[in-house]
C-alpha cells in the first residue's frame, strides 16, 4: 500500500551539505559561476560592445551588470569565477584581475553580528521576472533547507531583520519598497539579489525603472547573477551574519 511514510523513507535525506562542503556542479550550472577573464590581455572594443548590459570594462567584468548571456565567451571569458560571489560593496563586484582571488571571509556586518543563528528575512519583489523569486523560494525546499542554518523567511517586515530585494525597482513599486524598509525594525540589512536590483540588469536605462537599488535604499550585500542560484543567495544571506563560506580560488 503506498504511503507518504514509505515515499519519505525511499527518498531519504537529500539536503545539501552546503556551506560545510563546497557547492556541487549539480547545484551550480555552467552559467551560475561569474565570468572571469581567461587571458591576461585587456578586452578589445568589439568584445566590450558585445556585452548587452555593458558589464565588460577594460579592467575586467562588472559582476553587478552581468546577465550570464555567454556572448563574451568567445572573446576570452569563461564561467569560472568563485561560486561565492556575494560582496559587501558595489565596488568589490568589479574584478580587476583575472581570476581574482579574494579569499577572505566577509566580516559580519556590525549591526547583525548577533543574529548568526537566527536571521529572519523578508522578501520583496520590486519588479522581477519571477526566476529570482523562485530561486529564493527554493531555499525553503528540502534540498536546501535554509531553516537548518537559522535563516527563516517571514510573512511580515515587522518580524524581519533582513530585507531581500529581487527585481529592478519599478516606479510603481518604489513607494511600497520604501514602506517595507521603514517597517523593518532596527538593526537591519538590505540584500540585493540578482543583476536587476544591483544595476538594472538587461533593463538598465529603461525609463520608469530605477537605475539601481542603491539609489533608493542603503544596500549592504550584493549577490550577482541572473538569477543567482539558491546556494549563492544563501551565501549572500549568510554573509550578512558572518557565516559565509570562504571564497575559493578556482
Amino acid at each position: 500500500m503506498p504511503s507518504w511514510i514509505g515515499q519519505a523513507l525511499r527518498t531519504g535525506i537529500r539536503t545539501t551539505p552546503y556551506p560545510e562542503r563546497p557547492a556541487s556542479e549539480e547545484e551550480v550550472p555552467a552559467t551560475g559561476r561569474p565570468p572571469v577573464r581567461t587571458t591576461p590581455d585587456p578586452p578589445s572594443a568589439d568584445v566590450i560592445s558585445s556585452c548587452p548590459s555593458g558589464a565588460i570594462v577594460s579592467s575586467g567584468v562588472d559582476q553587478g551588470k552581468c546577465i550570464r548571456c555567454a556572448r563574451c565567451l568567445p572573446g576570452g571569458f569563461a564561467f569560472r569565477g568563485p561560486v561565492e560571489a556575494a560582496t559587501g560593496s558595489r565596488s568589490e563586484l568589479l574584478q580587476d584581475a583575472p581570476l581574482a582571488a579574494v579569499g577572505r571571509v566577509l566580516d559580519a556586518l556590525p549591526p547583525l553580528g548577533g543574529f548568526a543563528r537566527s536571521l529572519h528575512v523578508f522578501l520583496v519583489d520590486a519588479g522581477s521576472c519571477n526566476s529570482c523569486n523562485l530561486e529564493v523560494m527554493a531555499l525553503s525546499n528540502p534540498l536546501y533547507d535554509s531553516q537548518r542554518l537559522g535563516v527563516f523567511f517571514t510573512n511580515s517586515p515587522r518580524h524581519a531583520d533582513a530585507l531581500l530585494v529581487v527585481g529592478v525597482p519599478t516606479d510603481e513599486m518604489v513607494p511600497s519598497l520604501r514602506r517595507a524598509y521603514e517597517a523593518l525594525p532596527d538593526p537591519k540589512v538590505v540584500i540585493a539579489v540578482g543583476a536587476c536590483p544591483i544595476s538594472g540588469g538587461v533593463f538598465a536605462g529603461t525609463p520608469g525603472l530605477a537605475t539601481s537599488l542603491d539609489d533608493l535604499l542603503p544596500v549592504d550585500i550584493y549577490v550577482p547573477g541572473c538569477p543567482p542560484t539558491p546556494v549563492q543567495i544563501l551565501d549572500g544571506i549568510l554573509r550578512s551574519v558572518g557565516r559565509g563560506r570562504p571564497r575559493e580560488v578556482p
Partner: protein, 442 residues
C-alpha cells in the same frame, strides 16, 4: 475563413450551457489583426477583424485598456454594497502571493464578494523597450519577461520574428525549443502541485514535490547550462548538451523523475483531505471561461478542448503523439488534474523528441506564413496557456511588437471565479491558475 464563428448570445445567463463557440485570442492595438480560436472546429483563424462585438472577451478588453502603471480594470467589485461591506486592499507585497500585485477585495468579513485586481506594479516596459533592438538583443529581454516561462516566451517571439522575416530555421533548433518548453512545462506544473500542497498543509507531499521541482531545475541547468533556459535558444548562448550521448543520459534521467511524479500523484489523489480542499474551490463556470477568455489548463478544466500544440500545428508537435484529456468541473481540482495529464503527456513527448532527434543533414524548416508584410505571429502553449506574439521586423530589428500572455487572459477569470469564495480559498485558487504577474505587467 470558411467556417463562420458563432458568438455567445449577448447577455446570456450564466449557468446556461451555451452552444460551443470560439473566443477572441488576441487583437492588436491598432486593430489591424485579430486571432480567434474556434473551439467547435478546433482551428484558429487569423485575419482583420470583422464585426466581432459578440466575441469580445473581458480578457482582451481589459488587456488593451490597461496601461503600464497602476491600472484598475473595471472589476465586478465596484457596485457591491451592503452593511459593513468594505474594500480590503491585499498587496502589493502580500506574502501569500509570491510576486507583487494587488487585489482589492470587497468583503464583509470572511467572504469575498468581489475581487478587483490591480496590476502594473511589475511593469518593466519590456514591450516598448525592445522596439528598435536586434532580434537577439530583444530576445534577451523577452527571455526575462517571465523567468519560469522563458522557454515559451522566447520560442513564441523567435517564431514570430522568423515568420516576419521569412527566415528558415534548422530543424534541430525547433527540437531544442520543444525540449526546453516541455521541460519547463513539467517544472511549472510540479511547482503548482507543490504550492497547492503547501497551502493544504500537506507538508510531506509539498516537500516531496518541491524536491522533484528542484531536480527538474537542476536537470535543465545541466542540459542547457542555465536553470531557467536563459540564452538556450539564442545564437552564442551557453553550450547545450544535445549530442547523442547527452540525449541518452537525459532520457535515462527522465525515467525516475517520471516515476516519482506518478507515485506522488497517486499519493495526493489518495489523500481525502487534500482532494476535499480543492474540490469545488473557485469554480469557473464554462460560460464564464468562454466569455471571459480563459486559456490553458483553466479552459480545459471547463471542458473546452484547446491546446496550441494540437490546434496550431507547428514543427515538431505536428508529428508527435499527444493525448490531453480534459476535465469539466472547472474547480481547482479539475485544473490540477489537467496539469497532471499534461505532465504525463510531456514526459511522453520528451521521450518521443529524444527518440526522433533530427540529424544534422535534415535541413532547415521553413517558417510559418507571415500575417502581413514583415509581420509575423508566434503562438505556443505556455504552461499556463495560449501565448501570442505579434512582431514587426524591419532590417533585422524589431519595428513593433504586441503580446498576449496566458496570465493576462486568466487573470480576470480568476477574479471572477473567486467571487463568493472565502479568504482561505484564495491561495488554492491563485496557485491553481498559475498566473505570473511578471507576464501580466510585462
Amino acid at each position: 475563413m470558411t467556417t463562420p464563428i458563432r458568438a455567445l448570445p449577448r447577455g446570456a445567463e450564466e449557468g446556461v450551457d451555451a452552444a460551443p463557440l470560439g473566443a477572441l485570442a488576441y487583437a492588436s492595438e491598432d486593430g489591424s489583426l485579430a486571432v480567434y480560436n474556434d473551439y467547435e472546429v478546433g482551428r484558429s483563424v487569423i485575419g482583420p477583424p470583422p464585426d466581432f462585438a459578440g466575441l469580445r472577451t473581458v480578457a482582451e478588453t481589459w488587456r488593451r485598456s490597461s496601461k503600464a502603471g497602476v491600472s484598475r480594470p473595471g472589476g465586478p467589485a465596484d457596485p457591491i454594497d451592503g452593511y459593513g461591506v468594505f474594500t480590503f486592499p491585499y498587496g502589493p507585497i502580500s506574502m501569500g502571493v509570491p510576486e507583487s500585485g494587488k487585489f482589492e477585495v470587497r468583503t464583509y468579513g470572511e467572504r469575498i464578494l468581489g475581487l478587483s485586481p490591480v496590476a502594473g506594479f511589475k511593469s518593466r516596459r519590456i514591450l516598448s523597450s525592445v522596439v528598435g533592438s536586434t532580434i537577439p538583443d530583444a530576445a534577451l529581454r523577452i527571455e526575462r519577461l517571465a523567468g519560469n516561462f522563458s522557454a515559451a516566451h522566447t520560442a513564441a517571439f523567435l517564431a514570430a520574428a522568423e515568420s516576419a522575416e521569412g527566415r528558415p530555421v534548422a530543424r534541430e533548433e525547433l527540437w531544442i525549443r520543444a525540449l526546453g518548453q516541455e521541460l519547463q512545462r513539467i517544472y511549472n506544473h510540479v511547482h503548482v502541485l507543490a504550492r497547492i500542497a503547501e497551502a493544504a498543509a500537506q507538508n510531506v507531499g509539498a516537500a516531496q514535490s518541491h524536491a522533484l521541482a528542484e531536480d527538474l531545475l537542476r536537470l535543465q541547468g545541466s542540459v542547457f547550462g542555465h536553470r531557467w533556459l536563459f540564452g538556450a535558444f539564442l545564437p552564442g548562448g551557453p553550450r547545450r548538451a544535445t549530442d547523442r550521448e547527452a540525449r541518452e543520459k537525459l532520457a535515462a534521467r527522465l525515467v525516475p523523475l517520471a516515476r516519482t511524479f506518478s507515485d506522488l500523484w497517486e499519493l495526493f489523489l489518495g489523500s481525502r483531505t487534500f482532494v476535499d480542499r480543492i474540490q469545488s474551490t473557485c469554480v469557473v463556470p464554462r460560460t464564464v471561461a468562454l466569455q471571459w477568455g480563459a486559456v490553458g489548463p483553466t479552459l480545459r478544466a471547463c471542458g473546452v478542448d484547446w491546446d496550441d500544440r494540437l490546434r496550431v500545428p507547428t514543427v515538431p508537435y505536428n508529428d508527435l503523439f499527444l493525448d490531453l484529456p480534459n476535465e469539466s468541473d472547472g474547480d481547482a481540482l479539475a485544473r490540477l488534474l489537467v496539469r497532471a495529464h499534461e505532465v504525463r503527456a510531456s514526459f511522453l513527448l520528451l521521450e518521443q523528441l529524444l527518440d526522433r532527434w533530427p540529424s544534422g543533414t535534415d535541413g532547415d524548416e521553413p517558417p510559418a506564413a507571415n500575417v502581413g508584410p514583415e509581420r509575423g505571429l508566434g503562438r505556443v502553449e505556455s504552461p499556463s496557456g495560449d501565448l501570442v506574439y505579434d512582431v514587426y521586423v524591419k532590417d533585422g530589428r524589431v519595428a513593433g511588437i504586441g503580446m498576449r500572455s496566458a496570465s493576462q487572459a486568466n487573470f480576470p477569470v480568476f477574479a471572477r471565479g473567486l467571487r463568493d469564495g472565502v479568504f482561505t480559498d484564495f491561495h488554492f485558487a491563485w496557485e491553481s491558475f498559475g498566473i505570473v504577474f511578471a507576464e501580466v505587467d510585462a
